[in-house]
């Protein structure tokens, strides 16, 4: 009986050994192999040889982890450092599994928390997986909580965005209709006005002829003078009402092109003659960063140490270094290595100028509406924290727009008035009723002003809607907002879809204009900022992260004039990602594993 038992036992052992041999492979054999790859290696036990994963050759079981590289891709050495491209899998029980480069195996540094990468006995690694795993799990849970909140907010925002976008689109098409009608009215009024004016002119010429003979000599001179004065007065009128466009070229029947033309013509008209030169200079400066006026004055400011100072000057301005004092000469020569800082100074000066005269912003039509008093906002900024605010692109909209949105009454009114005028005033029956003519002109001006406002509103809306707000318009709410972060002496400000700046005191440096999203909506790119001497135009990459609030952080300049920052936003809290995180948590060892 005993003997029998023993032999049964022996038999059992043999059988199970055979079974183990053929099916289960001990973990030592498959050192460094990820569980999902174990199948691949089974062939070694069944047929004796298998192919390297890249198909380059075959290898035998004895070549598996024999510390000699047979496969280019490291298939035969998952557990040793023999192959340069190999990967080692550590199980890290209690924490997440990890795949490391085979260059880390037995290199004296503990890379896996379970220490499985250091098995040659030369280095002792403590198993830190449970502690590390707990920290990681806690973090993961925090992250999941954040994502859960974020996903909810995002959902809400996406819905909001749909509503807002639909509203904006509806408004746009509404405005376009109104524009069409208003255009017709303006055209009618214009024709009417012209006819009246023609008639008036005829009458005037008639009258003039009569009076001419009498006063010709002395009158002509004083009259010219008066005309000039009148022109000047008109010019000033333009400047004051910078939203008003007097000479609306109604002949332009195409809204988009007309609007663009308008904006440029308006810029021209709105400029005070006295400031034209300076303004032209400023815009020139925009293109080429050399301000010859400032270049003549050498600036001695060192980048990191303003008080020691290293000289600088315009690169191309020839300078007689022999004329410098010893100290200035030292600064001047040193500045060749450190780079010239006058450009920065020039530009700051220019920006100051721009801010003081912010109606002279030479940017696009839209930018004008973004202008705001940065000082006022800065007061709200809490030290070293990020903050945000709206710049409302509609701030400057006057009553017209509220009317537009609230009721169509003005529209009916104007249509009615026009009808009346057209009926009552007949320019073909002289003498022309002067008050009626005035009336027509007034109505025409009014309608024209309204038309131009309508156009700029259309233009802004068109531009807004032309932006890419993400596949679900999840970034819609960021439009018209700015986010700030204060770091040391600088305030960084990021306005999505518009621009990014760095402010120091009163000087502003533009880090970039809105360019686009990159890396499938994970990065916002602002490019073509202010130019750096001897370097590129400034640019900023804003990496987006999931967060319940929109906050700007980690502004950095990894390469000269190439900035980086992160912005948290619910828009990045994707449901799929949340699911991934939850799955990851699911896979994490549960507390009972500890036992």
């Amino acid at each position: 009986m005993k003997k029998m038992n023993a032999s049964i036992f022996t038999f059992f052992v043999i059988i199970s050994t055979i079974i183990l041999r053929s099916t289960a492979i001990s973990s030592n054999d498959l050192l460094g192999v990820a569980p999902e790859d174990e199948m691949y290696y089974k062939g070694l036990w069944s047929s004796g040889t298998i192919k390297c994963k890249d198909g380059s050759r075959t290898f035998t079981k004895s070549q598996l982890n024999d510390d000699f590289c047979d496969c280019f891709d490291g298939t035969d050495e998952p557990g040793t450092a023999a192959c340069p491209t190999g990967k080692f899998y550590c199980r890290n029980a209690g924490h997440s599994a990890l795949t490391i480069f085979s260059s880390r195996i037995n290199d004296g540094i503990c890379d896996c928390c379970d220490g499985s990468d250091e098995y040659d006995g030369k280095t002792r690694c403590n198993n830190t997986c449970w502690e590390a795993g707990k920290v990681a799990r806690d973090k993961l849970m925090e992250k999941i909580a954040l994502y859960r909140d974020g996903v909810a907010i995002r959902k809400h925002e996406v819905e909001q965005a749909k509503v807002s976008a639909a509203k904006d689109e509806a408004e746009l098409s509404n405005l376009k209709n109104e524009e069409k009608i208003l255009k017709g009215i303006v055209q009618q009024l214009k024709e009417h006005k012209e006819r009246i004016e023609e008639a008036v002119e005829k009458e005037r010429i008639q009258k003039e002829k009569e009076e001419k003979q009498k006063k010709e000599a002395e009158e002509s001179e004083s009259k010219e003078h008066k005309d000039e004065e009148k022109n000047d007065a008109e010019e000033q009128e333009h400047v004051k009402n910078h939203n008003v466009e007097e000479q609306e070229p109604v002949e332009n029947n195409d809204n988009e092109a007309a609007v663009l033309d308008d904006s440029s013509s308006r810029q021209n008209t709105k400029e005070d003659p006295a400031e034209v030169v300076q303004n032209a200079h400023a815009s020139l400066d925009n293109g080429e960063k050399h301000d010859p006026k400032d270049e003549e004055v050498p600036e001695f400011v060192h980048e990191s140490e303003p008080n020691t100072g290293v000289g600088s000057k315009g690169e191309d301005a020839p300078k007689d270094i022999d004329a410098l004092s010893k100290e200035d000469l030292g600064r001047e020569i040193g500045s060749r290595w450190t780079g010239k800082k006058t450009e920065q100074q020039n530009h700051d000066a220019k920006n100051d100028y721009d801010e003081e005269n912010n109606e002279y912003d030479t940017e696009t039509d839209e930018d004008q509406y973004y202008d705001h008093d940065t000082e006022a906002h800065r007061d709200d900024v809490i030290d070293d924290s990020s903050s945000s605010y709206n710049y409302d692109p509609d701030d400057d909209m006057d009553m017209l727009d509220t009317e537009t949105e609230s009721s169509p009454s003005w529209f009916e009114k104007i249509q009615k008035t026009v009808r009346n005028i057209l009926q009552t005033v007949n320019p073909f029956q002289p003498p022309v009723d002067i008050s009626e003519a005035e009336n027509v002109r007034k109505e025409y001006d009014e309608a024209n002003t309204k038309l131009s406002k309508l156009k700029s509103r259309i233009s802004r809306l068109t531009k807004k809607l032309a932006h890419d707000f993400g596949p679900e318009k999840e970034f819609y709410s960021l439009y018209g907002q700015c986010f700030e972060s204060k770091q040391n002496k600088y305030v960084y400000k990021v306005c999505p879809f518009k621009q990014a700046t760095q402010e120091e005191g009163y000087s502003t440096t533009r880090l970039g204009k809105w360019e686009k999203f990159e890396e499938s909506y994970n990065v916002m790119l602002f490019s073509n900022g202010d130019n750096c001497w001897n370097g590129p135009d400034r640019s900023l990459k804003v990496r987006l992260r999931c967060g319940v609030k929109v906050e700007l952080a980690d502004v950095d300049e990894p390469s000269r004039c190439e900035y980086a920052a992160t912005l948290t936003t619910p828009a990045l809290c994707l449901e799929g990602k949340l699911k991934e995180l939850e799955d990851e948590l699911e896979k994490q060892p549960q507390p009972h594993d500890e036992l």
Partner: protein, 923 residues
């Protein structure tokens, strides 16, 4: 030939005109015409010198003579004052072992010259004097007049001809000359005088005035090299390996090669203009004689003309016409004649002879031979951490992370900007936990700030260089107003060295090493961006007398500091920009502020080869180019070329875009990783070569002609170079190159290491080039050790096994060496190292011990793979003795790298220990 030279200058002219007019400020530097001694010397005609050697005697083992101006000659037209009667000069000539002739010419103290002329101390190694051959006698004879002969070396003699005075070396049997001095009578020695009424000694350059209180004191002379096809050496110039003629028929408007250490902003890649360092050592090489050398130990400004054939057509000097000859003119502002002739006759003989005078290069630590990552500037601790972790993330090995000037507190060296680097020790320890070192910069200009401890001590102790009036010299550099430590004084050097003690340099740890920049010295508001020549050093020596050696003494003091802090146990690593003969004993140099252009990549190769020829083998150029942004292809190529050059460091100006290897997309990351890994693969070979350089002075990277001195086609090749005797590296210096033209020297088979393809030598081969690598060939008859595993840094590679690559020659044999030590200490000097010679012949590889049998150094490293190139065998196995094991032979890869497919005979897993004697026989 003439038209080529003209074309060359025309091109140079257009280049100057259009491409770099705004960067290199030519007018801010003196040319020869603005330098009175140079202008005068250059305008002299042959046979100007009328000295004769008299009173020849043997004294203390030297041959001594007086050089006098005989009365029969007219007054020297060069001397202004009519009543001037030159005093006799003293010539003393000594002979040293291995074919070295040294001769000095100085004023005779008997005549009480106003001042002792400066002789450069601490350059000639102390052992050199022990190699002196004590002269007992001379023989007298007649060669174009009375001459005195002394034995120099087997088959060579030194000759002093009396009238006209001349010194030369010739082969005894044939009488063929090797190298000569004053053959053209251009020797001139301006003796110091007492200033007289009406003497105008001041010199002005731009706004700077040099008071020149001792008046003119320059020296010039001609040196001729016989049997010479080309001359080489005299760094540092950004120019071709071969020194082109600067004067003579067909050469117009050219400057001499200038040796004056200067901080040159955006230097040109093709110019005789002097850069950061100076080594007045020239080598000549030709098919008929071989190699010879001339070295002038002098630290004042020097100008050297290479005279084109026919420059002396109008003189009546008759020289043997059967010997090709290159004449040169040497001019220096001050000092004495302390000159050395090296007879060669092989290239390696000359560099060894030079090394016996100035020393061989220091044995670097193993880590220093790896890859270095630098930038002006890694901003703060976070930046450092981030860059470091990116190397790991991309599995790219590197050994050292560097911090430039911005890491300091206001450019006060030995301090830290605590806002950016609050925890320097922790930062260094963290890096070192992964085997990585750190290097910080320490420059010689000291901020004049009374709260700065270095300044306080230096000013209190009078350790600064003085201006002409005797006050501490005050110049402008990075920190603003600065003074400069007077490193010529050994006491001050010792004080400086103490500043590197861990207790003094707060925040430093044993894994921190040093970088010396701006040590020309650079003085932003000084004449030519350096120190005024009338500034005064220790011993009342004027700066003009030692200018070129200032940076050398600074480098020396810093190196001594690192040695001291570890009680002499840890080999220092100090990188210096300025250099002088002897620098090789103290550390490494790099070629300064180069530019991210293909031409600068190209010129970096001859610049580094020239440094190697003149003693400084551990040198390199900033990978990628310091100024400007390299396009990606250039950057990748730069890594691929620089991986084979001795000092391998990426560096960039702060205005450039970041360019760490992982920033240019996956493919380019892979290419740069491969380039860096290739370097790490060959580290055992490099380290063995560094050891050879340490013992013999033969450089790691060599011009082809050093290995193939009889192959004329190699003489002016500076696009390719040899690493040791075994590897030929062909650089790629053009955009979108699809192929490369490679000259493979004769009588060898060359194995393309990309494919294993064998090429017959003796002709120019056109080989395919891809973006993956540059063409590199292993020469038949060599065995090269590698380590084919990659780690984070050299530290983790210590125990990894070796691969041997055997390329057999026509007779089926090959040889190679492997040197291993602890990689950091000086125990190798006590014999603690492994040195093996591998010999393969008749199908058997044998490992022979070259180290002392008492060696205490041990290694468990084995050889995991032996690759056989050019060997045909049908055997499938090999037997290892004495263990009597049998191992497999199979087809395997030549390199284990993605995309490289090659099948070469491989002995699999012999697993013999490198420290043991064994042999492996193919069965």
């Amino acid at each position: 030939m003439k038209s080529i030279v003209v074309l060359h200058h025309l091109l140079l002219f257009f280049f100057l005109l259009f491409s770099h007019v705004s960067s290199w400020k030519k007018e801010e530097f003196r040319n020869c015409n603005q330098t009175p001694f140079c202008k005068r010397a250059r305008s002299r005609k042959p046979q100007h010198c009328n000295l004769i050697a008299t009173d020849v005697t043997i004294n203390d083992g030297d041959l001594v003579a007086k050089l006098i101006t005989p009365n029969r000659f007219e007054q020297n037209p060069d001397q202004n004052s009519t009543d001037f009667q030159p005093n006799p000069l003293i010539l003393s000539l000594s002979v040293y072992q291995d074919g070295i002739l040294r001769f000095k010419i100085d004023e005779d103290p008997v005549y009480n010259p106003p001042k002792k002329r400066f002789q450069v101390p601490d350059v000639v190694v102390s052992e050199f004097e022990s190699k002196k051959l004590w002269l007992q006698r001379y023989t007298k004879g007649v060669i174009d007049g009375e001459s005195f002969f002394v034995y120099l070396f087997d088959g060579y003699e030194a000759v002093v001809r009396s009238d006209p005075f001349e010194v030369f070396v010739r082969e005894q049997s044939s009488g063929k000359r090797v190298v000569s001095f004053n053959t053209h009578g251009l020797f001139d020695f301006e003796q110091l005088r007492v200033k007289k009424e009406g003497d105008e000694w001041e010199e002005r350059f731009r706004t700077h005035t040099d008071s020149r209180p001792f008046g003119p004191q320059s020296i010039s002379f001609d040196v001729s090299f016989y049997g010479a096809d080309f001359v080489y050496g005299i760094p540092e110039h950004a120019t071709s390996l071969v020194l082109k003629p600067t004067k003579g028929p067909g050469v117009e408007e050219s400057e001499p090669y200038r040796l004056f250490n200067l901080d040159v902003f955006e230097y040109l890649h093709e110019s005789p203009f002097g850069l950061y360092g100076s080594i007045p050592f020239m080598l000549s090489h030709g098919k008929s004689h071989g190699t010879s050398g001339f070295f002038w130990l002098n630290a004042a400004e020097m100008q050297i003309d290479v005279l084109g054939t026919g420059w002396d057509a109008e003189s009546s000097i008759v020289l043997p016409s059967d010997q090709k000859r290159i004449d040169t003119l040497w001019m220096s502002e001050a000092g004495i004649v302390d000159a050395f002739f090296f007879i060669g006759p092989k290239p390696k003989d000359v560099v060894k002879q030079y090394a016996s005078v100035t020393g061989t290069s220091a044995m670097p630590q193993l880590f220093a031979t790896g890859y270095h990552q630098c930038r002006w500037n890694y901003r703060d601790e976070e930046d450092v951490k981030n860059v470091d972790s990116k190397f790991d993330e991309h599995d790219i090995p590197y050994d050292v992370l560097w911090l430039d000037i911005e890491h300091t507190d206001g450019k006060r060296y030995f301090t830290w900007d605590r806002a950016l680097f609050p925890h320097p020790e922790e930062m260094q320890k963290d890096l070192f936990s992964r085997g990585r070192r750190m290097v910080t910069i320490v420059d010689p200009h000291i901020k004049r700030d009374d709260n700065y401890h270095i300044h306080k001590e230096a000013s209190k102790n009078g350790y600064y260089v003085k201006d002409a009036s005797g006050k501490d010299f005050d110049g402008w550099c990075w920190p603003g107003s600065s003074s400069y430590i007077d490193m010529v004084n050994p006491e001050i050097r010792s004080w400086w060295a103490d500043k590197f003690a861990y207790s003094e340099y707060v925040g430093s740890t044993p894994s921190l090493y040093i970088w010396n920049d701006m040590n020309e010295p650079s003085v932003f508001n000084g004449p030519e961006v350096t120190m005024p020549r009338d500034a005064l050093h220790y011993g009342k020596v004027e700066h003009r007398e030692l200018h070129n050696a200032y940076g050398y003494y600074f480098h020396m003091a810093t190196s001594e500091g690192l040695l001291k802090r570890e009680g002499g146990k840890d080999r220092p690593f100090v990188l210096s920009r300025a250099f002088f003969p002897g620098t090789q004993r103290y550390g490494t140099v790099w070629t300064g502020d180069n530019i991210a252009e293909w031409e600068h990549l190209r010129v970096s190769v001859p610049m580094i080869l020239t440094l190697g020829l003149t003693g400084i083998t551990f040198s390199g150029a900033d990978v990628g180019g310091f100024f400007g942004n390299p396009d990606t292809e250039l950057l990748v190529r730069w890594y691929q070329v620089a991986a084979y050059l001795p000092f391998f460091r990426g560096h960039a100006h702060h205005d450039t875009k970041r360019r760490e290897p992982w920033l240019f997309g996956e493919r380019n990351t892979e290419l740069m990783r491969d380039a860096i890994r290739v370097r790490y693969t060959y580290l055992p070979y490099f380290y063995t070569l560094f050891r050879e350089a340490n013992v013999t002075g033969v450089p790691v990277a060599r011009p082809l002609w050093m290995e193939f001195p009889y192959v004329e086609a190699t003489f002016n090749n500076d696009e390719a170079f040899m690493v040791g005797t075994g590897l030929l590296v062909q650089g790629v210096y053009a955009q979108r190159a699809r192929d490369a033209t490679v000259y493979l020297p004769s009588d060898h088979t060359w194995y393309d290491l990309r494919s294993g393809t064998a090429y017959k030598g003796g002709k120019t081969q056109k080989v395919e080039v891809t973006d993956a690598d540059i063409p590199v060939f292993q020469r038949s008859g060599t065995i090269i050790p590698r380590k084919d595993r990659f780690r984070r840094s050299t530290v983790q590679m210590e125990n990894d096994p070796y691969t041997l690559v055997i390329a057999v020659d026509g007779s089926g044999s090959a040889e190679g060496e492997l040197y291993i030590d602890d990689g950091k200490s000086y125990e190798f000097k006590e014999g603690a190292y492994i040195h093996r010679r591998f010999i393969f012949s008749n199908g058997m590889l044998t490992s022979v011990n070259l180290a002392p049998s008492t060696s205490k150094f041990e290694s468990d490293c084995t050889i995991e793979r032996i690759i056989l190139l050019g060997h045909t065998t049908k055997s499938k196995t090999a037997r290892i003795e004495p263990s009597n094991q049998v191992t497999d032979i199979e087809l395997g890869p030549l390199q284990i790298r993605s995309g490289v497919r090659s099948s070469v005979l491989t002995i699999r897993k012999p697993n013999v220990r490198v420290s043991d004697d064994w042999n492996i026989k193919l069965l």
